[in-house]
């Protein structure tokens, strides 16, 4: 019992298993209508069939390709524009209102426009992912530079450091912390862009499959795909967190070693 008290992940797993069991029993007893809420065993069966028959792989490939490309391009674009806006006032004057507007609106409304401009294949999905990620990263970089600790800037300047030293020793590490802090959210955004883009118009991808499942009222497939997307985002989320911990190890290392 004490082991259970100490292991948070085990308690969560047990709670999830209890919920799934209750759902399964209620569905089998007819309390829940299987048309709307099929039992977990049926959802699993549909998912396993998708994998064993190999039909899911081309969809997975499409969604992953769009998400990954969107994440990488969005990160690079957000970092470059964030640095440019923070360091060049003219660029900031032009860019900040546009980014503010893009940040304020639900950016997924751009999906139909990207389909018109770029077609229903991969590029329109990548474009939506890029916009979602780039705006997020832009503000992380922009704020990271604007809110940099000015005492550190003064410290480096009084030691004789110029612009390059400031960039290397203060601005880049400070911005890295901000960008990595938003990396987990960016991963979710990249996936959102790809799936929503596929949902609007596509020939393959998890979003396309979701749209198909919804149009055929296939609740088991819909739920299976939702769980699959959640599982993949969770894996990427854990990966992003590992990268954050590795690159920001100075932030996470021992708080219990202080001496007086």
């Amino acid at each position: 019992m004490s082991f259970l008290k100490e292991q948070l992940w085990l308690r969560r797993l047990l709670a999830l298993a209890a919920l799934a069991l209750a759902w399964e029993l209620l569905s089998r007893q007819g309390v829940l209508d299987p048309f709307y809420a099929p039992p977990p065993s049926e959802v699993m069966r549909v998912l396993i069939t998708l994998f064993t028959e190999g039909r899911i792989f081309s969809h997975l490939e499409a969604t992953f390709a769009a998400s990954l490309a969107g994440l990488i391009i969005g990160l690079v674009l957000g970092i470059v524009l964030g640095f440019a806006a923070a360091l060049v006032p003219l660029i900031s004057e032009l860019l900040e209102p546009v980014m503010m507007l893009l940040n304020a609106i639900p950016r997924v409304i751009l999906a139909p426009l990207f389909v018109i401009w770029l077609g229903i294949e991969l590029p329109s999905k990548i474009a939506l992912s890029v916009v979602l990620v780039a705006v997020l990263v832009f503000f992380a970089v922009y704020s990271g530079i604007k809110d940099v600790d000015h005492t550190l800037v003064d410290r480096v300047r009084t030691l004789g450091g110029g612009r390059m030293v400031l960039l290397r020793e203060v601005y880049i590490p400070s911005v890295t912390a901000w960008v990595l802090g938003s990396l987990k959210v960016a991963v979710g955004f990249a996936f959102t862009g790809a799936v929503v883009g596929e949902f609007v118009a596509a020939t393959r991808g998890l979003g396309y499959l979701l749209q198909f499942a919804q149009s055929t009222y296939n609740a088991a497939l819909t739920m299976g795909l939702i769980f699959l997307i959640m599982a993949f985002v969770l894996i990427l989320f854990v990966g992003a967190e590992a990268i954050e911990h590795r690159l920001l190890r100075w932030r996470y290392r021992g708080y219990n070693q202080k001496a007086s």
């Binding site: 003064d154 030691l159 203060v170 590490p173 912390a177 100075w250 708080y255 070693q257 202080k258 001496a259």
Partner: protein, 252 residues
Amino acid sequence: MLRVFDLVLGYDQEPVVEGVSLDVSAGKFVSLVGPSGSGKTSVLRAINGLLIPRSGRIELNGGQESLGFLFQDDALLPWRTARDNAALGLRIRKMSKSSALLEADAWLNRLGLEGFGGRYPHELSGGQRKRVAIAQILALKPKLLLMDEPFASLDAIVRTRLTQELLAWVEREHLSVLLVTHDLEEALSVSDTVYLLSQGPRARIRNSYPVAIPRPRDIFAARKHPSFTPLLEQLWQDMFDEVGAPKIEAMK
């Protein structure tokens, strides 16, 4: 070592300080005291090149490279270890990485931080962080130390110990110091001259007070010197006159 003539500083319309002149001779310890907001820190920032004066002149033997600035905050890079922070100034001055780190280790050891070089600032106590900041500055072998209430955030024991250690170092190495502080007793116990800045804005030097206590000094023994209490009372009285507080006699 340092001469400041008719310095005028300001951030907006009205000057913060107006016509400040002071002198720090080689090997002398000088303090600048004054009411809060009188512009003491601004004077240090102007000497260090962080603030451009509206007018006036700053003459500094040896140029900016001869200066070492100890901030009120630790101002250590949180993403660098104590060793890397201590070596930062040397690296900026183009010393090779291995030599700079060796030199940094030597300074950390000298300041009682042996074995702490691999720790990040958040893994150190306030006093240890301050020692790293001192190592960073002393490693550059400055001729003039500018100190902006460097130990104000520390508890009384650590603060007293660090002040005494730094004073001993300054006397042994014949460094010149310009210390900004609001602690009048501390200023008198360590300084050869204390300048009192008037209430701002448009603050100016109200008076200077030579402190004739022999060196080397112990900050506790200095407070028992016959000239200490009369000087302290005079300084307090002048400070009270500036901020409009009651006379010392009335408070006794």
